[in-house]
């Protein structure tokens, strides 16, 4: 029919299934590497992973991270090594959840959780300080009163790291390359990124 073919296409669409998810009413399961709000992880012995190097702040394209490092107090060190994150703030009015901070972090201190349903009544609340970001003694994120949590959102806080070949190199599949976490120990690797092996895992 030439020019008129398009009319048939649009008309047949009337009888097709709708693709819309009506968000607040129904919620789709999140992908395993979903970028939500951050957490600051701790080692299995309770020490903080953050060493206050400010690489995350330097790489952040939205400039939403503010970090000040300080020397560890000798009597009661916060992190293993010389320095620790003395001030750590993320402004969620600016954060674009690109995960560059997570990739930049040399100690896997900062990762992103699945939590994204939060809103604030004032600008000060939008700035998460260290007290709100560091995981609690079970290794779980601390729940803020303005956050909406769903089952399982709080446990999968470092899902992306379990990709065993984060640089896309299949040689590293199933070779664990990160340190243990408080509450979890060394997490088991993801299936990997080899073509075909990870299919269906993201839903």
């Amino acid at each position: 029919m030439g020019y008129l073919d398009g009319f048939r296409v649009t008309f047949m669409k009337l009888f097709e299934e709708r693709v819309t998810t009506e968000y607040p009413k129904e919620k789709r399961p999140k992908p395993s590497r979903f970028h939500g709000r951050h957490v600051l992880n701790r080692y299995e012995d309770g020490m903080e992973k953050c060493i206050g190097c400010e690489l995350c702040a330097g790489v952040c394209p939205a400039q939403c991270i503010y970090v000040r490092g300080a020397d560890n107090p000798e009597a009661d060190p916060v992190s293993p090594g010389e320095r620790y994150g003395y001030v750590y703030e993320i402004n969620y009015l600016r954060c674009i959840h690109c995960d560059l901070c997570v990739e930049a972090c040399p100690t896997e201190a900062i990762t992103e959780s699945k939590l994204f349903e939060f809103s604030f009544a004032n600008r000060a609340d939008a700035i998460y300080t260290k007290a709100e970001l560091v995981v609690d003694d079970e290794g779980l994120p601390r729940r803020q009163p303005w956050e909406l949590w769903h089952k399982g959102d709080d446990v999968a806080t470092s899902g992306w790291m379990r990709a065993t070949a984060s640089a896309g190199n299949p040689d590293y599949e199933n070779r664990i390359g990160w340190s243990g976490e408080l509450g979890y120990g060394v997490r088991t690797p993801e299936k990997g990124q080899h073509r075909g092996t990870n299919s269906g895992d993201d839903h």
Partner: protein
């Protein structure tokens, strides 16, 4: 004698009352129909794009337009510093008022054919089911759609801003180009009906499907009218006037609040009016089989059904066709539609003349064919030359 029988024996208070009631009913009907047209369009276009569309305000989102209207009322009304204050404020009303006025001539009911002449009896008075049946009839539509261009043009000009100005310049060029085709398609119907009055046009189509001007004018005028009407309404694929991707919002970029709502209202109201006019001109208006009981209701129902079908078609156009480029728009209008409808008009006129004066078949159509051949070849030569010049121009660019 033509004209509404209501006024034939002098005008008294009852006549005035009936007229006022008719005006109010038409006004309210059109407003509510426009409200649901906006909803209908949004819902249907969503369906054609695998989406859901408005579904929160009221059942199936029916009150979405109402909610939008309330929102518009409470929005701040901005006027750009460079705008011409008077004209800027006047333009939306020109658009809205002309949209209302053209609907007045549409017969929306009454049974035609046989011995009934499309009248109904209200309060013991015979009258037509249309607000007005002026002797100039369908010319009012053409006049109003021409005046409506002023609304768009003045809005763009008075905004004191460049995109609205470009949009309104496009609008005037487009409207002038397509009004010729629209007018001539209407003239074909007028020639066949022998009257300008819309009531007369509907009456001339009474008596079965084959009497509809869609059939007896040979479909071509209808198609030309449909395309020209779409262009006249500035609807996709002819929405160059608004062209969001190029002109922000076209002529209404600088409008906000209730002034913008008036343009919006006028646009959708024009769609309904144009559909109603097409039903009147080509689809026998309220004609249709009348079954049991409620004999006065059936014609109105048929009329509404036909209008609804056209509303569907307009939304369907929007869902399917991509916007034309500006030169394509002009080519389609001037080089295809106008010559086509011009030939068709002459042919139909000749046919009517031959029937009226009982001219010889062979001589009439032979002469017509010769004239047609000469005209067509001249036109082809002219178009070829024009195309060549155009191609050269394109290559230079």
């Amino acid at each position: 004698m033509t004209g509404d029988p209501l006024y034939l024996d002098g005008v008294d208070l009852t006549d005035v009352g009936i007229t006022i009631v008719k005006v109010l009913v038409a006004f309210t009907f059109l407003l509510i129909a426009t409200m649901f047209m906006v909803w209908f369009e949004r819902k249907l276009i969503s369906d054609m794009q695998n989406r859901i569309g408005p579904n929160v305000a009221g059942p199936w989102g029916l009150l979405q337009t109402f909610a939008d209207g309330v929102k518009f009322f409470f929005k701040e009304d901005l006027r750009p510093e460079n705008a011409d204050p008077l004209v800027f404020r006047l333009a939306p009303y020109i658009s809205a008022v002309t949209a209302f006025l053209s609907f007045a001539i549409v017969p929306i009911g009454g049974s035609f054919g046989g011995d009934s002449s499309g009248t109904v009896t209200i309060f013991g008075r015979e009258t037509y089911l249309q607000v007005a049946d002026p002797p100039i009839g369908i010319l009012l539509l053409l006049a109003m759609s021409s005046v409506a261009v002023y609304g768009v043009m003045l809005a763009g000009w008075a905004s004191g801003s460049k995109y609205p100005l470009i949009g309104s310049v496009r609008a005037s060029a487009q409207a002038i180009s397509y009004e010729a085709a629209l007018g001539m398609a209407t003239v074909v119907v007028v020639v066949l009906a022998g009257t300008l009055s819309t009531h007369g046009i509907v009456a001339a189509q009474s008596g079965g499907f084959s009497r509809w001007f869609l059939v007896s004018s040979g479909i071509v005028p209808f198609i030309v009218f449909l395309i020209a009407a779409t262009a006249e309404l500035n609807r996709p694929p002819f929405d160059l006037v608004e062209a969001e991707q190029e002109l922000v919002g076209g002529f209404h970029t600088e409008y906000s609040s209730i002034r913008f709502a008036l343009f919006f209202l006028a646009e959708f109201m024009n769609v309904i009016t144009m559909s109603a006019i097409m039903v009147t001109l080509f689809f026998g208006g309220p004609a249709g089989p009348i079954f049991f009981g409620m004999t006065w209701l059936w014609p109105t129902m048929w009329f509404l059904l036909k209008v609804l079908a056209f509303l569907f078609v307009f939304v369907w156009f929007r869902a399917t066709l991509p916007r034309l480029r500006y030169d394509q728009l002009m080519h389609l209008g001037w080089k295809l539609l106008i010559p086509l409808i011009l030939f068709w008009l002459m042919f139909i006129s000749l046919k009517e003349l031959r029937a009226a004066y009982d001219w010889n078949w062979v001589v009439t159509y032979g002469a017509a064919l010769v004239a047609l051949a000469i005209g067509a070849s001249l036109l082809v030569v002219a178009l070829r030359a024009g195309d060549r010049a155009y191609q050269e121009e394109l290559e230079e660019v």
